[in-house]
């Protein structure tokens, strides 16, 4: 019934720094179905933002390794040249809403132009037509037409975020990558933006990759959850399964650490600190902090085990 729209296979993204090679994305594979939203959850520095950049190929200058496959409806877009990628993929197929939405708008260009710009570039519309579409996109996210002539500094934080979303939607892409889209916003504004994203997803049949550090927030959008730790995806499961019974010890700990308002459970913390991506631990990257680690965990990096119906986990505990 559902088709796979995006597949990542052994995606790797390493940076070269003065301290050594940072293995930000290490052998990451996942599938994204049409109309599905995948929540990518992990603590800061786990490589989740790098993964987003690897998919839309926004690479920093100090890139060391960038390999693997990214299949968009079966086509390996890693094989495209930079120009082809820019013309065929960016914003036409995949759009992105950035973490620092506040800073994602050019301070000296008017809102209307910035929203319309992708149309001018990719669909070669004339200015009038593009503006009409931009106004429409802004209306969808709840911004009045009169703001078209305004500059970003005249907008509030929530409005900027909506503008950035409108900018991402204006070309009707298939996939929207949301990188912590509400991290700088207040809870009520955040809830409003989440409501908007939920509606858009239904109405426009969008596929989301939703990146967040907040397991509570991820449940707002997730059909499927992928947990990332030290540059690797540790567990993938559909939302119902994941929130009911996470399989990976790290996922379990992460769930347990979340303070909740409506339940009585006491949150626990995970002892130790996240590993460095330059010199990660041997074997399973989580083993130094894992309460159920055994011998093998420190020696061999576990493969991915399928627990049935697409529930994948990277942990020796599930070896037969």
């Amino acid at each position: 019934m559902t088709d796979t729209i995006l597949q990542s296979r052994n995606l790797k993204l390493y940076y070269a720094t003065r301290k050594g090679v940072v293995k930000a994305v290490n052998n990451v594979s996942f599938d994204l179905q049409k109309g599905e939203s995948l929540a990518l959850v992990g603590e800061s520095g786990c490589g989740k933002s790098s993964l987003a950049k690897a998919i839309i190929r926004l690479l920093p200058r100090n890139i060391a390794t960038y390999t693997g496959e990214v299949l968009l409806e079966g086509q390996d877009i890693m094989k495209l040249s930079d120009t082809q990628f820019r013309r065929q993929i960016r914003w036409k197929r995949i759009s992105m809403v950035f973490q620092g939405a506040m800073n994602s708008l050019n301070p000296v260009l008017k809102i209307g132009y910035q929203v319309a710009e992708p149309l001018l570039i990719h669909e070669e519309l004339d200015k009038k037509e593009a503006k009409k579409r931009a106004v429409e996109a802004l209306r969808i996210v709840g911004i009045h037409e009169s703001f078209v002539e305004r500059y970003p500094f005249e907008l509030s934080g929530g409005m900027k975020q909506r503008t950035v979303i409108a900018m991402a939607l204006v070309t009707n892409p298939d996939i929207l990558i949301l990188d912590e889209p509400t991290s700088a916003l207040d809870v009520i504004t955040q809830a409003n933006i989440m409501n908007l994203l939920k509606k858009l997803k239904k109405e426009m049949q969008l596929s989301y990759i939703f990146i967040t550090h907040d397991i509570g927030l991820s449940s707002e959008l997730a059909d499927k959850v992928a947990v990332m730790y030290a540059g690797e995806i540790q567990e993938v499961a559909d939302a119902d399964t994941f929130y009911a019974k996470p399989a990976h010890p790290y996922s379990q700990k992460l769930m347990a650490s979340v303070p909740t308002l409506r339940t009585e459970k006491k949150p626990e913390f995970i002892p130790g600190a996240p590993p460095s991506l330059v010199n990660p631990p041997s074997g399973c990257k989580f083993h130094p902090r894992c309460p159920s680690a055994f011998d093998r965990c420190s020696k061999e990096n576990p493969p991915v085990f399928d627990l049935g119906s697409g529930h994948l986990v990277k942990c020796w505990w599930y070896a037969k």
Binding site: N195, H213, S219, E220, Y243, P259, F269, A273
Partner: protein, 328 residues
């Protein structure tokens, strides 16, 4: 009755910041804190919750007299400190402490951990070098940065975020204060460390009988921490009450909205739209007339636009700034 002794009494406190004014135009003010009153008992821990720009941080820092209040009074142990000059405030500085949000910026990078913890002691002329060293060891032990010999000579850039925040907490404790204001002490830390730090704070607060103001935008973390909840919106405290009572039965529409907006991890969330008011908090230069929440309030009445609501006490110990609870 010493347990019930009032430590802090804040009365109609206001803090307005002057905006850059032109040569001929009248000055504009950001009314960050605009008429706040409350009392705090000795050893009591409260949480002050509000969104960014609600004035919660300003309130905390004004209480610590890092800002000079524009109006109202602050009394500690019955003593008025509202307009004392900085040299008359030294005793107050000893009795109070601040823990900041950003552990990476809260410590001077060019001092060692030992020196950082010693600074308040030097400033307040506490004992000799040996006594100061002893106190530094004591607080480091209290925040469990052990072995002390390893940590004391280190510099901040050698520590992790969680460890830095422990140093900041230790520094707040070196002078054995009676009142501590913690301004979002965990919001910049990773989820897994947050609970650890909150637990530590709670433990120290109870052990040392410190009066504690925990400032946060995250309602969920308050539950494990304090007995009382203060909800702040647009420069005013709109609701005060016992933690559990407020969470289960919010009186102010804004509190209600806040509670509704919080996502607990639950896969059913994706099926529902949250019933939250539209819009964003108002500009504090020209706040709305009457009740400041009225433009977003789903229960808005005529009077809300015209008159500012006074404090109502619909239940014993619960205070709310909302016309819905006016005694008919």
């Amino acid at each position: 009755m010493s347990e019930d002794e009032e430590l802090l009494e804040v009365e109609n406190l206001r803090k307005w910041f002057e905006l850059r004014k032109g040569l001929f135009s009248s000055p504009l003010y950001v009314k960050a804190v605009d008429g706040v009153s409350f009392k705090l008992k000795k050893g009591e821990a409260i949480s002050l919750v509000g969104e960014s720009g609600s004035g919660k941080t300003t309130l905390g820092k004004t209480i610590l007299r890092l800002y000079e209040p524009t109006g109202g009074t602050i009394k500690i142990k019955g003593r008025d400190i509202t307009h004392l000059k900085s040299n008359e405030l030294m005793w107050y500085r000893r009795e109070t402490a601040l823990i900041e949000q950003d552990p990476y910026g809260a410590l001077p990078s060019f001092f060692s951990i030992h020196r950082i913890l010693e600074e308040p002691l030097i400033i307040h002329k506490f004992g000799n070098a040996e006594e100061r060293r002893k106190r530094v060891r004591e607080v480091l032990e209290e925040v469990r940065l052990t072995p002390i010999e390893d940590f004391a000579p280190k510099y901040p850039h050698m520590l992790s975020g969680g460890q830095l925040q422990r140093v900041a907490i230790a520094r707040a404790l070196t002078l054995r204060p009676e009142l501590v204001v913690a301004d979002e002490p965990v919001s910049m830390l990773d989820a897994s460390v947050r609970i650890e730090i909150l637990n530590l704070l709670r433990e120290l607060q109870e052990k040392r009988k410190i009066s504690f103001i925990y400032i946060t935008h995250d309602l969920t973390t308050t539950k494990y921490f304090s007995e009382k909840l203060f909800i702040m919106y647009a420069g005013k405290i709109v609701e005060i009450g016992d933690m559990l009572k407020v969470v289960h039965n919010p009186l102010h529409p804004y509190t209600e909205a806040l509670l509704k907006a919080i996502p607990d991890p639950d896969p059913r969330n994706r099926e529902i739209l949250r019933d939250v008011p539209p819009g964003e908090p108002p500009n504090l230069v020209n706040p709305p007339s009457g009740c400041r929440f009225h433009p977003r309030c789903p229960y808005k009445m005529d009077i809300c636009q015209k008159e500012e609501p006074p404090v109502f006490e619909p239940e014993n110990g619960r205070f709310v700034l909302c016309w819905l609870h006016a005694k008919k």
